[in-house]
Amino acid sequence: MAEEVRIVLRNYGKIDPLNIDDYINAGGYKGLEKARSMSQEAVIEEVRKSGLRGRGGAGFNAGTKWKFSYRAVADEKYVVCNADEGEPGTYKDRIIMENDPQSVLEGMAICGYAIGSRKGYIYCRGEYPYVVDILNQAIAQAKEKGILGDFDIEVRMGAGAYVCGEESALIESIEGHRGSPRFKPPYPPAEGLWQKPTIVNNVETFANIPIIMEKGSDWYAGIGAKSYPGTKIMTLTGDVVNRTFIEIPTDVTIRQVIYDFGGGIREGKKFKAVQIGGTSGGFIPESLLDTSIDFDSMGAIGATLGSGAVFVMDETRDLVDVTERISKFFEHESCGKCAPCREGTKRMHEMMTRLNAGQGKADDLEQIEQLGSVMSRACLCGLGQAAPSPVLTTLEHFRNEYMEKLG
């Protein structure tokens, strides 16, 4: 049976999150100290070699990203921690920030040192005012100790817009604007917040950094899947026995997640489907459960690891109904900047409503597939590009459910 490996959550339940001395006594801020004794290039190289890839969904190598900002010449650079956590079914960043806020601050400070930035922002979703309080207390304690040196961190609050998790929309929001994504390039590492080089990383990504600095890249690269090493925090929801969070090496399979850690399906029912990575993730049938959860293996089956949300549905669930609900989410959250997403999410929701009400025609299925394929290519940002994925994957793996509902 697979076992949890707690690297990011190494201090979970062991320290008082609101006492910086507890964190320091548990070995905290050794990573930052070590980083500061090295050259900036050496720090970046260590992070790059560890193989750590972004935990916010896009899976980009963290060290490689940092290098872009390090190389950029500018009078000011920024480090931004993405704590927007809007992907339904996800609460892992909250668990990290509530239980070990200093590990996130330390990761950000290491990044600041590496790229040459003195200012960090944590963009925390508006639904977490209690987390904002914790972060502010943690920052105050770190400042009082002078442990962050000349690196300053400020918390900014989001206000209930899913799209603001997208890094360029997030930057717009910190600047005090509507949270619409920018056209890219330029990418944030070259031109981000107030047009300055900006590193945006997820909470979980930053929380990995101190321990990588402390124990070294070789140690980290040896954990989990080769191409996406380390651990991943997963949050289990839906019809699993244990609705909980787990931290597991990235070579654990979906089946192990659901049965070993999740305890299987509730009330002795049978498994039907699992959606991984949040509401924008693909639906996965029984036949693909032996896939490892790492980024590339998930991509190979047309699914995503995404945020690590694991939404399990038993044999009694109506997938057309669930997918209709999801299509409403995307219509609501589309920012309206680009036409394929603004119009596409609306039409998709319309068609899903019709299909779910038993008034759909076979024609609708073809049209919805065509619309989905256009959106995944033509939309400006990841929101619109991923929005069709639940529809397309349920049509692929569970088409019979749609057929049974045709009018």
């Binding site: 079914g89 206000a159 929001s173 600047e175 609705r243 920012c335």
Partner: protein, 148 residues
């Protein structure tokens, strides 16, 4: 200085501070008073339409009055399959209003929300941002009674 200006002014020199100012307003009133938007536009030196544009973009902000207790019900997929609809029906029945409405005495407002990040205990509602997890329709009366 007007009350609105007093609440907004600490954020005036914060780069991009208008969103923080709106949070402060909403903390105080539970919504953003319409007249406060003009004050914000003035203080941040942007047009009224830009100030409106920001306030209306974010679903956490509400312009104009709502109840002293804002109850938001998560209808994201995990809460949906866990029975959010039954919780909504119980709340509507108990309060005698529909989703999106405020009770006549100005005490309660019912709103839809997407995932609020407490998915270990679906279905979830929040009352003035405080989460309540594993909400059972039968318990709704009790929860409401605790709102004084």
């Amino acid at each position: 200085m007007s009350d609105y200006a007093k609440i907004i002014s600490p954020y005036k020199d914060l780069p991009g501070g208008i969103i923080e100012a709106y949070h402060a307003l909403q903390n105080k009133y539970n919504y953003i008073p319409e007249d406060a938007i003009a004050v914000a536009a003035d203080m941040f030196d942007i047009s009224l339409s830009q100030a409106y544009g920001v306030a209306t973009f974010y679903s956490y902000f509400k312009i104009g009055p709502r109840g002293r207790y804002v109850i938001r019900i998560c209808e994201s997929a995990p809460c949906h399959v866990a029975g959010a609809d039954d919780v909504i029906a119980a709340l509507e029945k108990e309060l005698g209003i529909s989703m999106g409405e405020t009770t006549e005495d100005g005490k309660f407002t019912l709103e839809f929300a997407e995932c609020v990040g407490q998915c270990q205990g679906t279905p979830v509602i929040t009352i003035n941002s405080q989460p309540y997890v594993n909400v059972e329709p039968e318990k709704v009366g009790e929860i409401l009674a605790a709102c004084k």
